[in-house]
C-alpha cells in the first residue's frame, strides 16, 4: 500500500464514506495490539501521566475555577494507616 492510498482510505473513513471492506480493514488495524510491548518503569509512567495532566490543567484551567477542598487533619492521619 502506498501513502497516497492510505491517505485516501483514512480520508474516506473520517468522512464516513468508506467501503465496508475499508472500514473493516481500518477497524481491524485499530484493534490489532500485537506489537504493544512497551516496557516502561513505574516512575516513567508517573512522569508521563503528570506531564499530560499538567497540560490538561493548563488548557482547562480547572484548578482555578474548582479548587480542591482541603482534607481535614483527622482524614490525613487515618490515610497514613
Amino acid at each position: 500500500m502506498t501513502t497516497k492510498t492510505l491517505y485516501n482510505k483514512t480520508g474516506r473513513y473520517i468522512c464516513g464514506a468508506s467501503m465496508p471492506a475499508e472500514t473493516r480493514q481500518i477497524q481491524t488495524w485499530l484493534s490489532c495490539t500485537k506489537h504493544n510491548k512497551m516496557s516502561v518503569s513505574e516512575e516513567e509512567k508517573a512522569i508521563i501521566e503528570t506531564l499530560i495532566l499538567n497540560e490538561v490543567k493548563a488548557q482547562t484551567a480547572y484548578p482555578l475555577f474548582y479548587p480542591k477542598a482541603e482534607a481535614p487533619w483527622w482524614q490525613k492521619i487515618t490515610a497514613m494507616f
Binding site: M1, T3, L6, Y7, T10, G11, Y13, I14, Q25, I26, Q27, T28, W29, L30, S31, C32, T33, K34, H35, N36, M38, V40, K45, I48, E49, L51, I52, L53, E55, V56, Q59, T60, Y62, P63, F65, Y66, K68, A79
Partner: protein, 168 residues
C-alpha cells in the same frame, strides 16, 4: 489515587458536580493504557501525548452533558481510535513523518498482520481455572457444589437440629 476503589460510574456522577479529584482518579486509571495504545499505533510519543491530552480535555468539557449509563472506558477508546486515524490522515496530508508511516504504519495494514487481531486472546490454564471458579457456570459443577456464601456447614446445621430436638 484514593485508597478505596470507586467504580467509574460513581466517579462520572461526581464529575458532573465539578469534582476535580474524581476527574484525576479517572485520568490516572485510563491515561497510560491510552497513551501506550497511541504510541503503539503512531510510533510517536509526542502525538500520543497530544491525543490523550485532547481526549481528556474533551471529557472534562463535556462533563455536564454526559448521558445516563455513560461508559468512560468505551468513550475514551472510541475517541482515541478516531483521533489515531485523524492523526495519520493529517500527517499524510502535511507530508510529515512519511518514513515512519511507510516503515511502521503501512505494514500494519497487511493481511498477515491484520489476521493477528482476529485470533482469540489466549489465557493460561490457571487463569481459566480461576475465572471458572468465580463465575456461576453450569458446566462447572464444582462451583455449585462448593457454593456457600453464608459459610454455614452441614455439621453446623446438624448441631442446631440436635439442639432443637433436645429442647423439644
Amino acid at each position: 489515587m484514593s485508597r478505596n476503589f470507586t467504580p467509574d460510574e460513581i466517579l462520572i456522577d461526581q464529575l458532573v458536580l465539578n469534582d476535580t479529584d474524581a476527574f484525576e482518579e479517572l485520568y490516572h486509571r485510563h491515561c497510560y493504557p491510552l497513551y501506550s495504545y497511541c504510541v503503539d499505533k503512531l510510533n510517536s510519543p509526542a502525538d500520543a501525548r497530544s491525543i490523550v491530552r485532547d481526549v481528556f480535555i474533551r471529557l472534562w468539557e463535556k462533563r455536564q452533558t454526559l448521558p445516563v449509563g455513560f461508559s468512560v472506558s468505551l468513550y475514551l477508546y472510541q475517541e482515541i481510535r478516531k483521533a489515531v486515524v485523524l492523526c495519520v490522515n493529517q500527517k499524510l496530508e502535511e507530508d510529515k513523518d512519511l518514513f515512519t508511516i511507510q516503515t511502521q504504519i503501512i505494514p500494519g495494514f497487511a493481511v498477515v498482520n491484520l489476521q493477528q487481531a482476529k485470533k482469540p486472546v489466549r489465557k493460561s490454564s490457571s487463569e481459566i481455572r480461576y475465572i471458572n471458579s468465580l463465575t456461576p457456570n453450569r458446566a462447572n459443577k464444582n462451583y455449585w457444589w462448593n457454593y456457600n456464601p453464608s459459610g454455614i456447614t452441614i455439621k453446623d446445621i446438624k448441631m442446631l437440629l440436635q439442639k432443637a430436638f433436645n429442647l423439644l
